[in-house]
Structures are given as C-alpha cells and as structure tokens.
Symmetry: C2
Subunit: 659 residues, 2 copies
C-alpha cells in the first residue's frame, strides 16, 4: 500500500479541526499535541496499525497507547474517524463534560478502544512495556497464528523526562521487546516553555545507550514518517522514532509555542487555523470523502481479524486461549486442598513464606500468572512453583527479574493486566509502595487485576530501620479507592487472600506480608473461607464480653495473647482478624455490628499508623499503633519498645475499662 | 600530597574489618559494599574530601552522600576512623541494635556527620543534586571565600537503575553542577544476582548523553582511582566515576557474588578474609598506627576550616551568612501587614493565587527561599516576588525550572534543606505527590524544612479528570509521621499557612491549594494567627448548638453556607476550619473539646476520601466526602454531582438529627 499525500493531508487536518474545536467548546484542554502529531498518527493509522474498529477487544490487535494522555483529542479523533462505535461525534462535542466518554484524559473504563488510562506522564509508555511483554509471552505460548501484534506508543517530552521512563526503557531494552515502537512527539515544548528551560539531554543517545534502536523523521512529512517507521520495523530492538513536530501545527500565530499546549486556541486563532489548513468545514463537521478515507483505514485490519478468527477456530488451543484472554481462572483451580493440608499440619512461617507456599499451587494450576520482583526475589519469596525466568531468550518464562525498578514494575504489570491473557504479580518491600504509588493508583483507577506482593510489612522487618519500615503505608493504601489491602495473619489467611486476590477481575490487591515467622492461628478444618468477609471473629469472649480486639497480620497473635490474659483477669474479650478493611466495609450492617458489638470496648492493634482506625473503634476505643517512624533494631526489641506485646496492651485496656 | 599504598592498604582493610565484624555481630547487614568500596573511600578521604572531624556542621565542608545506604558500615567506619566524636567503637559494636546511632541505614538525625538519610535507592544521589545546587547558589551570593565545596556521592547499581536517577542526573547535567562527583560502585551485582539479570544498559553512555563527564578506574588500584578523580575534578561537568570493584573484596570465597550483598559473611569466611587481607587484629580492634594514619586524613580539613573561620570573621556578610546557615528567618520577616491588608480588602481568589500573593512577600523578605515547579509554574503560581531563574549561567537565581521531574524535585529540595542556607519550596499538582512520595517521606524522616506547594487539590480542578484529581491524597499524607498537611480555605489562611510552614525548622509542610476561586471568609482585623491551632471556630452557633461542621480548604465556604441554612431552620451550627489536623492534634484536650463539643453532631466536609475523619466526627457523626475516583467535567458540575453543596448536605444533617 502506498500513501497518497493528497488524501492524508485532509485526513490529518480532520484531527486538527476536531481537536481545536472540541477544546474550544469545552473551554479547556490541550490542542497542541493532537495538532502536532496529526500527521504521524494519520500515517500510523493508515498503513501500520492493525485494528478492527468493529472489534476493539480483538485479542490480536495492535495496542496503541497515547502516553501523552493530555493530547486525548488525538485518540478520540482517531477512534471516531476510523469508525469505532464510540466515541460518537456527540461524545466529542461534549469533550470534558459530565457523562461524556471523552474525558479530559483517556480512560480505559469509558471507551473500549482506549487500551489504558493515561495522563500521569511516563506511565503510558511504561504500561506499553508490559503490553509488549504480555504479547511476547503469549506468542511464545500460543504461536504466531494467535498472537502476533505490536505495541505503539505516542509519547511527549514529559513522558521522556519522568523517571519511570528510565525504568521502562531499561526493561524493554534488556528484554529486547522489538515489537514496541515509541513515536516521540519531539516538539521542544513543555508547559513552562522551551525544553531548554529544564533539560539538555541527548535523548536519542540515551535510548541508544539503553539498547534501543533510534530513528528520526520530519513529523510533518508523510514519506519521511513512513521511512522512519519502516526502519523501526526492520530493527530487532525496541524503537524510538523521534518525530520532529511543531506543537499546535496549523495555528498560524501560536504554533510552536507553549501557548498551544494546554489552553483553547481562541476563536480568532481557530479561524486563522482554518484558513491556514484550508479547512472550510464548520466545527465537528467532517465531509464524507474525508470520513470515507478514514473509514478505509480499518479495512485491512478487519480482513486480518477475519483470518485470525478462522485460525482461532481451527486451533487446538482455542479454549485455553479464549479462557485466558477472558480473564477466567482455570476451572480446576482451587487452594482448598492446600488449605486443608495446613489445617492438618499447622505451619509457623512468615506470611511472605506462606505466600510462596500458596504461590507454588497458584503457579502450578494457573499457567497465566507472571511473577516477579524488583530485585528482592529471595526476600519477597515471589519465585515459586518452578517457573522459569522470562528473558529475551525465553519469553515463555513466567518470572521477571524487574531490577531495581519498583515503579516500572508496577506500570508494566498494569500493562500486562490490561493486555489480557496473563495475571501479573510482583514484589518489593511494602515501604517501597511509595516508589510505585503512581502506578498502584492507576491499577485501581483502571480496574486492573494486579497483585502486589509487599513483604516486610512493619517494624517487624527489624534492623534495616525506619527507611525500610512501613508505618503509614497500610493507612495510605486503604484510603485509595478500588484497591484491596490485605494483611493476613498466618499461612491459612495468606492462602485465602491469594485466592481472593485472583478472583478480583476488576481491582488490584496489595498483599502486606511479614518478614518474621507467625504462628498459625486458624486450624479448624471447617473454618475456611473467612477472609472473604474482610474481618471475622477468631476467638469468642469466654467471660462476659467487654472487649473486642481488632488486629491485622502479625499483630493478630498478639491480640490473641492479650485476650487470653484479659480472660484470666475475668474480662471477656473477642478477637477479630481484620484482614481487609475494604471487604469488611462491603458487608451488611448486621454482620459488621455482630463483629464489632456496640457495647464493647474496641481496641485496634496494628504495628502502623493509627490513622483511620477510629472508623472501627470509635473515638472512645483504644488504638494501639505506631504514630512515628520506627527504629533500627531486631524485630523483637522493636515490638517490645513500641508496645506491641500483650503485657504492654493489657494494662491500657484495664485502665480504659475503669474509665 | 602523594598517596602511599603501603599506608592505604591497611587503612582500607580497617574499613573491611570493621564492616564484616559489625555485620557479623549484628547478624544482619550488608558487608559487600563497604568491602568493595573501601579502597575508593580511602583515597577520597585521604586526599580529596574537605572535612573537619571536630566540626561536622562546618558550613563549607564537602558533602559526602552514601547513596547506597545499605552499605552503612562504610560511612560509620570512615567517621569513626577519621576521628569524629560519633560514632564511637562501641556504637559500631552495637551496629543495628536499639539505641545505637549506627542504624541499619545512615540516619541524619542520629549522627551529625551523616548528611542525609539514605537507603531508599537513588534518593541519596538525587539529594546530592540539591546540595550541589545550594552550594552553587550560596557561592553566587557569598563568594568563594565563604562557600566553595564539593558534593561527593557513592552510588551503587541500584541507585543507577531507579527512575529518580534519570531525573536527578538530567537536572544536574542541565544545570552543569560540575562540583558534583558520583563514585559508582560498578560491581555488576544486585541482590537477585548479576546485573545482567535485569539490565543491559551502557550506563556510561547514558550519563554522557545527559551532559555528564564520565571517567572510570580500577576501584582497587589506588593510583588509578586518584587519576580518575583528578580527571573528574578537571572537568567542568558533573562527573560519574565508574569504579570497577569486586563486591565483598577480601572475602576469598564469597567476593564477587550477591552472597556478600546483604548477609553476614559467617565466622569461617571472616576468618578466611582476615587471612586474605593480612588483618591479624581482633574484631573492632584498630592498631594505633593505622588509626593514626586515619586521623591524619582530617588535618588538612582542620586547617582549611581555621582559615575559613578567619575569612568568615572578616567578612561583611558574616551575620547574614550565619543567620541563613542557622536556618533562622530574617528578623524583619512577617506577613502580618499583608494579612491586615487582606482584612481591609478581602480577596476572592484561588488559594494557589493566594499562595503566590503571600510568596511575593515571602520572597521579598526572605532572600534564602529557592522556589520552583515541576513544569507547572503558571498553574502552581510558584514564581513570585520577581525572583529570577536559577540556571547554569546564573546560580544566583532563585527559581528552578525542575522540568517534568516531581520525584527529582522533591529529593533535590531535601538536599537543599539539609545543605542549609536555603529554604526550598516547589510545586506540582497534589495528585502527583504520588510520584514524589518517596522523597516526601524522607523530608519527614529527615526533619527537613521543605515546603510542598501542591495545587489543584481536589475534584475542583475539573476537566482534567480522575487521573489529575486527588481523592485519597490528603488522607494518605496525613497518615505520614512528622509532616504537616495544610489546606487553607482563603487568602488569609493561605498567608498564615505560609508563615507557619516557614517556622517549621524540623518538619516539612504540604500546602494543598485550590485551582478554583474561593471567597475570603475571615475579615476581622483582630482574628489573626488562627491557623496555628490547626483548627479554629470560624462561626459560632446562633441557635442552640446542635451541629459542628468541620471543613477544610475549598469546602469551608460550603460549610458556612450549610450552617447558614441550618440556622434558618432553627438548628444551631458552628463551623470549624480544620486547616491542619496535625497541629490540631497537638493542642490540649480542653481546646480540642471546645472546638468539637461532645454533645453536637459532628459533620466533616472535605472533597476527598472520608478515611480518617471519624477521628473528629466519631462513628456517629457524618462524613461528607468522596470515596471513589472523580470524573472529568467543569468543577461546579462535579461539586454538584458529588454533593458538595449546602443544598445536598443540609437534608443529610436534618435526617441524622432525627435519628
């Protein structure tokens, strides 16, 4: 297929017109990027991108990621023009208005054809790395006939300045993800002004140093764009294509300046742009011939999709491939037998070790898991079940050595989960959720099944000291919408949490796991599947019920010891294991009231910030926690020092009861 | 001065011996790095580092940052051997034990000579960038005679893989911070194994691409180390010196492997190492001759310090320089007059704009402020008071264009604050505290006066949508120890918050500021300095007091409207502006009870997660908040949709009162 500039020019101008008009109508938004990258996107869509507008969920489509998400009108224009059912022209008219799927930044949960939510800079590119990893893995498992697609990224200067960019391209270069191509909108402009205000980097040299192929082109010369993309396709490495563009191209007085970046052009400039571009049509009007050319861009993809569907139909792997892409767990998957074995032979192990034990079963029965760690494999206990490393030489492997790249790992996991066909999990220390937090938020916002294996979950990690001891992290993660934070107290709860996390098709889970060994507190074969309720009673009061102890993770056994001492003093005390506050909050009022009876003193025990615990204890309860940074010492010394022992807690409760 | 290998060998081995013995005694820690970098550190200390062991706070000392903080025994050994008062040999014996200043990772608040807390990888290097910036700025202001020192960093492969490394070196390269030298412990080992497990990057080429000078040396050849450092000193760019080392050098069976990274060597291997090194002395024994050679390393620094003291004594700038380095505010600094002018002419402005207005005064009266923004200058309103850009051509400037580098900015601000002599503030959107969170935590842990100007603090930012709308961020930051989170409601409160933030010499502040305009609710000239109490009563109940509304920031005026409507229905309602929960928690019980009377219905109103608000409302109160992600639409539509209007709130209160 050869590209005809006479057709491409108006096609690209259609993007420019929709973008400037939609931003103007909304009186807010970013016209500069879509206008600048319109030519590149038109070439990509016309010749290279494999897509079927009628089937945005087609498994073998190319993935297109608008990492510079503020330029959202670019993707909305492309999707509408090329014939996707959504967004409609009315959706675009309502850009940035309540209820429109054309949100300020592209949201994967509002439009089927938006692969991922972008806007937080750098993360789109980093998620694309995960998509490219998932593609290569599934290709290795299912072959070219079912999985053979590319991942395309449009990134801006901002994406390339963010630290996550370094982590993402380091991973992609190392893993030789040659089917990933980043189209860099190289326009020398950031919000504050020229890029020379803040950077002097030779970006192309940096990418080359990181194992990438680098090409460049005039981003407004269709033939040159084509040449550069062909070069990228021919190279085995991942490619950066530096597309030299003029931001806001077509707006005669403002183009090339930061004035076009994040504000409407204004009526006058839009009129002038119409003249410059030779675009004689009113706002939101796309003439039939131009629309028809755009609609034709999907034809080859439609045909390819048909052929692919035939291959899938004929494939012996059809059922398994379809199951994995649908995100359904294997029918024979269960951890019940394993949990029953724990009931028979209780294990005193750290919950990070318990996680490894559960993972041995998970990884054996669920071939779609892809695990990894940000250089803490032996500490996070994430390599289990005999899975092999995922490497450039063996994409069939299922264990990723992410390196010291927490944020890059989390974003890659988002990309994998959104690509589909795999279930990613990855580990680091809980305290380093701080490094990955931007991506954890996007897991939650994007409703992605990503499982964070966060070990060393309190001062219980001991000697490494306050930089490595999470304090506020449980609270800060619980505050995040649509994220489950689970802190199991023993091997049984850990297994139940793994099963629950895998069940969550539309939200991520953080598993907070101990470094130190913990006794198994649940041993009755008929007391299973308790974590599902978020909190449950582990011990009833013996004497008249006066005190309800609510604990999580490594403090549950402390609460049990506390209850025992209280009972010896004649005070009836129940113990509730609050393994997941979010799941507990979802239970009905009767269940919640039964767990936390109104007429008892409620005492929370958790080796972390007390912030948020009043929700369960009330302001007249007692919150045993840690509202300061930790210290460096052996774990037992720290639990003693900070009062997480039954001996330290009982007197406080007795005093409180006297009040 | 020429270096004598015959003396350097035992000096370096003293570091190795102390490191392996201390880790063994603690039965935890990281011997590999100190043993590997002992030779490089010995050369640095003997010939290059400007320091006076008797005066760790000497303003013009070189700054030494152990970015690879897990190798903490390197710095503890160096400080002890070279004659600092702390740590003592007993402190080292008690490495990683409760009460020892020799914590698992170096902590700036435990040892005077530890410039910054390190351990979270990459951040030491990024803080060093801030130190080097502060040095050049103060040099530009006070001249070579008072400020003329270098910043040295020891970094590992982990520091160089972290994304923040990219941001930090991009900034340093752009700003041409030639007095910064990074000694990279190039040992090809990470925790998981060889670096080739996870990276294929040409690090030296990447640094070169980012505007750095690059040298390399055999990290175990004293002469070669000297040559490489001399090269670095001769170059005007910041320098990376790749020191090829063997991790755990000296441990004959384990060196060069990840086994030496993070675990004691074991008694047998330590005995073998003693033999290999020819170290015949018992644990923690340093022979007098070796100690004497080490003590001599501080002599030239002592002399230089004496000369510097003379220059300071003779300097006309002595008082101002001393004031700034002591972190004291100028005596004539106050915002009272400005606040009184607001009382006379109330301003309806966004609090981000109010922040700019306050900053105009701050920057005029406090020459030590250094502001900036991560490429959102016009949105964060951080450039005020006529300050000029801080650039490679003008280090006297006080405004930093940080670029799209939130994490790098925050870490650089930590470095500046810890260097002393400047007070850094910097802006981005509140939602992007997620990107910078690792450094915000280090501001708090290190007790650093850093002021975060975080604008667009709620769904009130409007059309950009959920990726840009903070929801859980206020709660997640409030959970962090030693951090003040202030959310002022108008121009008066914003000015008071700025004054308070500047007063905090030992903790950071987050100012959460609105994008949208807010009415000035405090106009009485005698009602000043209220924010100091964290919360205060803005409106008393007219009718019998039934309801206490507690609001922050942009919801305070909504609470006032709500109270007005309630009063019209005969319900007495007071309004408390809870501008800073942490400061309120520090007030005495009587004050707190007076603000939040026990017998009233307490209602929190904040456009963010309700998590944590039960602390003030109790479980029988009402929490008006947002426990989901936001949406893309104009701000007014969102406030309406999510119920942050008096009309939506009043009925909920009336219902609750009926219960």
């Amino acid at each position: 297929m050869s590209l005809d500039p006479a057709r491409l020019v108006p096609m690209a101008n259609a993007i420019r017109a929709l973008s400037m008009d939609a931003v103007q109508a909304a009186n807010s938004g970013h016209p500069g990027m879509p206008m600048g990258m319109a030519d590149v996107a038109t070439v990509l869509w016309s010749k290279y991108l494999k897509f079927d507008p009628g089937a945005p969920a087609w498994a073998d489509r190319d993935r297109f990621v608008l990492s510079a998400g503020h330029g959202s009108m670019l993707i909305y224009s492309l999707l509408h023009l090329s014939g996707y059912a959504a967004p409609t022209i009315d959706d675009i008219r309502n850009f940035r208005q309540l209820g429109s799927p054309c949100a300020g930044h592209p949201e994967n949960f509002l439009l089927d054809a938006v692969e991922c939510t972008t806007g937080p800079l750098g993360q789109g590119l980093a998620m694309a790395v995960g998509m490219a990893m998932a593609e290569r893995h599934l290709n290795a498992v299912f072959g070219d006939e079912l999985v053979d697609h590319r991942t395309w990224v449009v990134a801006g200067d901002g994406c390339l300045m963010e630290g996550i960019n370094h982590e993402a391209i380091g991973l992609a270069g190392h893993l030789k993800l040659g089917r990933m191509i980043v189209l860099w909108d190289d326009n020398n402009i950031t919000i504050d002004g020229g890029t020379d205000l803040s950077t002097s980097e030779d970006i192309k040299a940096r990418y080359a140093a990181t194992g990438w192929h680098v090409a460049e082109c005039d981003g407004h010369d269709f033939g040159d764009i084509e040449r550069a993309i062909d070069e990228a396709l021919a190279d085995e490495r991942p490619s950066l294509v530096a597309c030299r563009t003029v931001i806001g191209k077509g707006a005669p007085n403002k183009q090339g300046t930061s004035a076009t970046h994040g504000a409407p052009l204004g009526e006058d400039e839009i009129a002038a742009a119409r003249e410059t571009l030779g675009w004689e049509h009113g706002p939101f009007v796309i003439p039939d011939d131009i629309l028809s050319d755009w609609r034709a861009t999907g034809e080859s993809g439609k045909a390819a999709h048909g052929e692919w569907r035939d291959r899938l139909g004929a494939s012996p792997n059809k059922a398994e491939f379809t199951r994995r892409m649908a995100g359904e767990l294997a029918e024979d998957f269960q951890l019940d037998n394993y949990i029953q074995s724990l009931m028979k032979e209780p294990q005193k192990v750290a919950t990070r070790k318990a996680s490894e034990m559960a993972l041995t079963h998970v990884n054996t029965y669920l071939p779609e898991t892809i695990g990894g760690s940000a250089d803490l494999t032996g500490s996070n206990n994430t390599k289990a079940g005999g899975i092999e490393p995922f490497t450039a030489a063996n994409y069939a492997g299922r264990y990723v050595y992410y390196g010291i790249r927490e944020f890059g790992m989390a974003a890659a996991m988002n990309g994998m989960a959104l690509h589909g066909g795999v279930i990613p999990y990855g580990g680091t220390f809980l305290v380093f959720t701080d490094y990955a937090r931007g991506a954890i938020r996007l897991s939650a916002l994007q409703q992605a099944r990503v499982i964070y294996v966060m070990t060393h979950d309190s001062i219980g990690l001991g000697e490494d000291g306050p930089t490595h001891q999470p304090v506020e992290h449980l609270a800060s993660l619980r505050a995040m919408p649509n994220l489950l934070v689970m802190r199991p107290c023993d091997a049984v709860e850990t297994a139940e949490c793994w099963a629950l996390a895998l069940e969550q098709t539309d939200r991520p889970t953080v598993l907070a796991l101990s470094r130190q060994g913990l006794p198994q507190v649940r041993n009755a074969p008929d007391e299973t599947d308790q974590c599902r309720y978020g909190a449950y009673r582990l011990k009833r009061a013996g004497n008249a019920h006066k005190v309800t102890l609510i604990a999580t993770g490594s403090e549950v056994h402390v609460a049990l010891e506390t209850a025992e001492k209280l009972e010896r003093e004649g005070v009836g005390a129940s113990v509730v294991s609050m393994v997941c506050t979010e799941l507990f909050d979802e239970q009905d009022a009767a269940y919640r009231a039964d767990m936390l009876p109104a007429d008892t003193l409620k005492v929370s025990v958790e080796a972390g910030a007390t912030f948020g615990w009043e929700r369960y204890t009330g302001t007249d309860g007692l919150n045993i926690g840690l509202d300061r940074f930790g210290a460096s010492a052996p774990a037992d010394d720290l639990f003693e020092k900070f009062g997480f022992t039954a001996d330290a807690i009982v007197p406080q409760i007795m005093n409180k009861l006297k009040d």
